[in-house]
């Protein structure tokens, strides 16, 4: 085992650290630490700043406008970003559709869409889930029927995150009925301004508007916007499996921000003149949390090192997703606990009332964290995946 960075990587770290020493507004901090997304304008501004520095797409190859960084450099970059309270980059364009476009898309699609992703000129959302599908994605019913040079889309999508903001959407739709449900599904790139698209906000328990229902009524999409071949969309989605591992891994690094948030909250609050952070009970809980976060960070580093070495990390990606969601939930809950009775002060009812320093975001983060064990493959599904694929245990 070797655990020291080589000099070039050390120099790179300094460079990244210098970059993040400025340009991260203080008002982002609490939301970022709570695991909440910044506003779209803020995320766009952040992405543009990265793109201007040539760092818009840390995981992409150079030829498509990416940095071409090694996994270790990606790890360094994210760690420094996290330490500086920078946000995670919005991932739906960068990590979910971008890589599919540059892997399976035509040259025309690459030229047309990739720069807009890196430079945050476009905002992509995902049209995969459907109302009754849940964890059973392959049961999708949205149809795309070829009509001349277009596909005509009809159907309903659920959980379209940031659909209310997006300029584009990548949609899985059924182009034919096949005996195997995973077949006959195609992937289409859709301009959100196309007539026939209706977005309806879905209110969620965290009181933050981030997701939507999307209705597709005779939405005409140019056939040129088909990614790869017709009927193979499900397969293309699989390229995501490898990348999603990296996405979760990168997000997991950001848990060190939650540790900081808890520490600050517990340093501010006193009981009988003693700071909460100095009380053995709370101290032990925070220590336990920090230790578990440390274990996860090191698992992430191992995924990165495996990727660098070209080694398969096996089920480590699913494990990181599992543990990350558990720790997101535990961390925000600990944070809210540190607020004491004022955790009940979520929103002022009149003007000019002071919320506690980290409200409402600490609470909103705690509520939001509940969905992290549901989306992107619920914790139960992750368990199934690990049991079946890695341990070879069959139903």
């Amino acid at each position: 085992m070797e655990f020291e960075l080589d000099p070039a990587d050390l120099a790179f770290r300094e460079e990244v650290r210098a970059f993040f020493a400025t340009g991260i507004p203080d008002e982002w901090r609490t939301r970022v630490r709570a695991g909440l997304r910044l506003n779209p304008e803020e995320l766009v501004a952040y992405q543009k700043r990265l793109a201007a520095r040539g760092w818009g797409a840390p995981t992409w190859p150079v030829e498509y406008g990416g940095t071409g960084w090694s996994p270790i450099r990606q790890y360094i970059f994210w760690t420094e970003a996290a330490e500086a309270d920078a946000p995670a980059q919005f991932h739906q364009g960068l990590e979910l559709i971008g890589p599919i476009i540059f892997t399976y898309g035509s040259q025309e699609l690459k030229d047309r869409y990739l720069p807009g992703i890196v430079n945050a000129d476009d905002w992509w959302c995902q049209g995969y889930s459907e109302p009754n599908a849940g964890s059973d994605l392959a049961s999708l019913r949205t149809r795309a029927v070829r009509d001349g040079d277009d596909y005509v889309l009809n159907g309903q999508k659920a959980w379209t995150s940031y659909g209310h903001v997006a300029s584009h959407c990548f949609v899985l739709a059924r182009t034919s009925d096949e005996p195997k449900r995973q077949q006959g599904i195609s992937l289409l790139l859709v301009d959100m301004k196309t007539p026939g698209i209706t977005i309806r906000p879905v209110a969620t328990m965290d009181e933050k508007h981030h997701t939507n229902e999307m209705f597709l009524d005779d939405v005409r999409v140019p056939a040129a916007n088909l990614v790869g071949e017709e009927g193979r969309g499900w397969e293309y989605g699989k390229v995501l499996l490898d990348r999603e591992r990296m996405v979760t891994a990168s997000v997991a690094i950001f848990l060190i921000q939650t540790v900081k948030a808890i520490r600050e909250a517990a340093s501010r609050r006193t009981i009988g003149g003693v700071r909460l952070i100095d009380m053995p009970g709370f101290k032990a809980k925070l220590a336990q949390y920090e230790i578990e976060v440390t274990a996860l960070q090191t698992m992430v580093l191992r995924v990165m090192a495996d990727a660098a070495a070209g080694t398969d990390s096996g089920p480590l990606g699913s494990m990181i997703k599992l543990r990350w969601s558990q720790l997101s939930q535990a961390g925000t809950a600990l944070w809210v606990g540190a607020l004491g009775p004022r955790a009940a002060h979520f929103a002022p009812l009149d003007n000019s009332h002071d919320l506690p320093a980290d409200m409402p975001y600490a609470m909103q983060g705690a509520l939001y964290a509940r969905v992290t064990s549901i989306y992107g493959g619920s914790s139960e599904i992750q368990h199934n995946i690990i049991a079946q694929r890695a341990l070879g245990l069959k139903g």
Partner: protein
């Protein structure tokens, strides 16, 4: 020995359940809660008509003298349908404190019972945690009466209160057990700044700053702590029963969902992992209910045993309630996280109930003391 409600108590619970379904069915509830107090006034008036606002008030104060078990039936009923409103604060906690005496107080209790006044007790201070004896707010007496100076960090359900009951020091140091007195303060009193907040469960709380605020002494001077602790323990029983009602309701909703929701071609309740999770939720509900019984069993053993039992129940019921709420959301998946179903509202209420009148950590150490 009997672990079920008496016929009368069961009828009370039954009426409350019907009341909740009628006034706060899940969809309506949502809309009403967004309106703040005005969304609850009809229901409150109805509760007054039914005599429920008088129920927990002592007979000698003009109430119906309901005991802890009646309070539990009430709380359970509220919890099952997540009935909103400042019931425990205004109809249980406040009258118990006002009972310390005085003619004005009797009038106020009458108004509370008639649904004409909402009163909240301002018990917690910054730097005090959930310790009821931690009071830095000072009362100064003069010929013209008492004036209060200080701040209260959180007033449970104080967002709509017309009156506040404010503990203040007439003697002693900040964390002394002696020297506390209670004062009645009008929400519109000069020198009083009231900040109002909404919690994630729709309850409305307050924070107070007092600068030379006039207050009327309630009862005798300097010996209020025991009454405060007893009143809070009593009100907590209502909340604990509410938590049990809520977790049983959301557990039942989840069981129903497991039976009917299909994935991969079969009901999700056929998956063993979800079955066992549902079992753990059911066990948690049983444990929580057992802790309510434990409180009831402690009553004949005197006030110290009762308060210790309440702390024990607070720990376990809160843990169970949060667990059940979280798992209910988890097992419902995406729709569980949505605001549309009642499921996530149960979780949010459990989270808030868990810190009302003392967190789990606070009560665990209080039990251990």
């Amino acid at each position: 020995m009997r672990f079920t409600y008496s016929d009368e108590q069961a009828m009370l619970l039954d009426s409350i359940l019907r009341f909740g379904q009628e006034h706060f069915p899940p969809t309506e509830r949502h809309r009403l809660i967004r309106q703040g107090r005005s969304g609850e006034t009809d229901a409150w008036a109805r509760m007054a008509d039914l005599g429920w606002l008088l129920l927990p008030i002592a007979e000698e104060c003009g109430g119906l003298g309901g005991g802890i078990i009646e309070l539990m039936a009430l709380g359970e009923g509220f919890g099952r349908n997540l009935v909103p409103g400042p019931y425990m604060a205004s109809c249980v906690l406040a009258p118990a404190l006002l009972a310390r005496g005085g003619a004005v107080q009797d009038d106020l209790i009458e108004q509370i019972g008639a649904g004409e006044a909402i009163v909240a007790a301002a018990l917690l201070e910054d730097d005090g945690g959930y310790d009821l004896h931690h009071v830095a707010t000072r009362a100064t007496g003069s010929d013209e009466g008492w004036t209060l100076d200080g701040a209260k960090a959180h007033v449970e359900d104080g967002g709509d209160a017309e009156w506040f009951i404010v503990p203040a020091r007439t003697a002693g140091g900040v964390r002394d057990r002696d020297g506390l007195s209670l004062f009645l303060v009008s929400a519109s009193a000069p020198g009083l700044r009231v900040e109002r907040f909404r919690a994630v469960d729709g309850h409305r709380h307050a924070r107070l700053e007092l600068e030379g605020v006039a207050g009327q002494l309630i009862g005798s001077q300097g010996d209020a702590l025991a009454d405060i602790e007893a009143a809070v323990a009593r009100a907590s029983c209502g909340y604990l029963a509410e938590a049990v009602g809520s977790m049983e309701a959301v557990s039942a909703i989840t069981l129903d969902y497991l039976r009917t929701r299909e994935q991969f071609g079969k009901p999700i309740g056929s998956f063993q992992v979800l079955q066992h999770r549902m079992v753990d939720m059911t066990v948690a509900c049983e444990e929580a209910r057992a802790m309510l019984c434990h409180i009831a069993l402690s009553i004949p053993k005197g006030d110290a045993a009762f308060q210790r039992a309440v702390s024990a129940a607070k720990v376990r019921i809160s843990e169970c309630g949060i667990y059940v709420g979280q798992q209910a959301v988890q097992l419902h998946g995406g729709v569980g996280f949505s605001d549309e179903l009642i499921v996530s509202h149960h979780l949010k209420r459990q989270m808030m109930l868990a810190i009302a009148h003392g967190s789990i950590d606070h009560h665990r150490m209080r039990f251990a003391a």
